[in-house]
Symmetry: C2
């Protein structure tokens, strides 16, 4: 299995405090040492850093730390290989172009006997179940809509295809197009939104402490999504199994538990903020 | 306009000697300062580093230098923007999945009034003519073959679509799937193959000197492709305008001048080595 980390914000934010705890789980505080990757949205573009070495000791991860890239949407992954060798092409997050956007996807879980995709328009490059599932999702979405549909249609469609894919096994994932972030919990995924009044946080994986008052402005909102909580003194929410959350501008817009329902018809999800 | 750098080898090779001269053209010895990118194939995977800062002064480029990644196929690009803003999504090289492989593409030139791709399966993310042309090429290739065809069919198909695209303007490019590298010269592209007996080389853009005898083994073959020669004491070949060269395992396999012709029928290009 693996661990996931996502960040969705309303102001460009440096993920280093969270990433420094997270990367320790790749060999120091946990065993997710089979490579790592981190993708930073920057406008419509993505910077991605990958290594087949453990994140805890990778010079690429050191470079990420030093560079302190600020972004509205970040997805990172530390790998414990289940299917596929330890190499760059099997390293999450995976990226595909959908409707002229970069879509970034990272998965925690294990899917068995996925459909053959060897003649699909979107084919996996590596040998992971995760990339194959993301390609299956991409093909479904592109065939369903030739041009980018509304957020509501996207979120509904992601739920439909996810439920098909989840029949093949465990399918926790984080997905982003740089505007929003969708989290799906099959078995284990947590999130937390930081906003005013800000406080201190202590990392679980080492002695790192931060006082967000030193960094954040009054209106800042930052949501962190991760497999297992990263701090010991904040109020993490465990997602419902089978649930979906749509995050935008740093906070939860809508949460779906169980079935596809209960959304507005105005084409956006903007009026369904429940955070 | 921009400048291109490609490397195709028969043994994993460190591109730093060439890249260090090349990156100086991004602000020091020339004006290609509108961002840079470099993609390293590693098996079927790709590591890509991009920055919207000039390569000469980018900390991301410093990271590339320090890490000394060895690869069989590398494509780099320093940008002087003609179409599209200076940002990450407009930074070459561009990457798309074709037949379950990473294809990496960088362009030097300017294409005007390309066909609309807003309902294509493969759509551009940024606003450059270059990425749009690469998407047009990807769509053509995927529609022509559902599964990966022979090298001969790939090379012929790339020539066909290139000739269509070259009608829109200047279209020098380097393209690789990690196994081979195709170079097309519309107006300006040079290459050079280093193999035994190895000698010294002096960089044009600074005082850098290398003796390849200190690094290379007897059977090593390394081809460097670039817009403008990088060393002053080696024998660079200027490609013919309108010409294509297919490189594999570090050397030229076949060169096409003018029309699509003169290839073998055995499905590979392996018996047409002319280097």
């Amino acid at each position: 299995m693996c661990q996931l980390l996502g960040m969705n914000c309303n102001t460009p934010t440096d993920i280093v405090f969270s990433f420094e705890g997270f990367r320790r789980r790749a060999g120091l505080t946990d065993y997710h040492s089979d490579g790592f990757g981190i993708a930073f949205f920057e406008g419509r573009g993505v910077r991605v850093f990958r290594d087949n070495r453990a994140a805890a000791e990778s010079p690429i991860a050191d470079c990420v730390k030093q560079y302190k890239i600020k972004s509205l949407n970040v997805i990172a992954h530390i790998r414990k290989a289940t299917q596929g060798e330890v190499n760059i092409e099997n390293t999450h997050p995976f990226i595909r172009e959908i409707w002229g956007e970069n879509w970034v996807f990272a998965h925690n879980g294990n899917l068995k006997s996925l459909p053959d995709m060897s003649e699909s328009f979107c084919q996996p490059i590596g040998s992971t179940d995760s990339e194959a599932a993301f390609c299956y999702m991409s093909e479904f979405l592109k065939n369903r809509f030739r041009r980018k549909p509304t957020e509501k249609e996207i979120f509904e469609s992601v739920q439909i295809i996810t439920k098909q894919l989840a029949e093949y096994g465990t399918f926790n994932f984080i997905l982003s197009n740089g505007e929003w972030m969708i989290a799906h919990c099959s078995t284990n995924l947590h999130y937390l939104t930081r906003k005013a009044p800000f406080g201190k946080a202590h990392r679980i994986d080492d002695d790192g402490v931060i006082d967000f008052n030193d960094y954040a402005k009054a209106g800042d909102k930052v949501t962190i999504i991760t497999t297992s909580p990263l701090t010991k003194d904040e109020n993490w929410t465990k997602m419902e199994n089978g649930g979906f959350v749509f995050f935008k501008d740093g906070e939860k817009v809508i949460e779906i538990i169980g079935t596809v329902k209960d959304m507005e018809d105005d084409g956006t999800l903007g009026n369904r903020r429940v955070a």
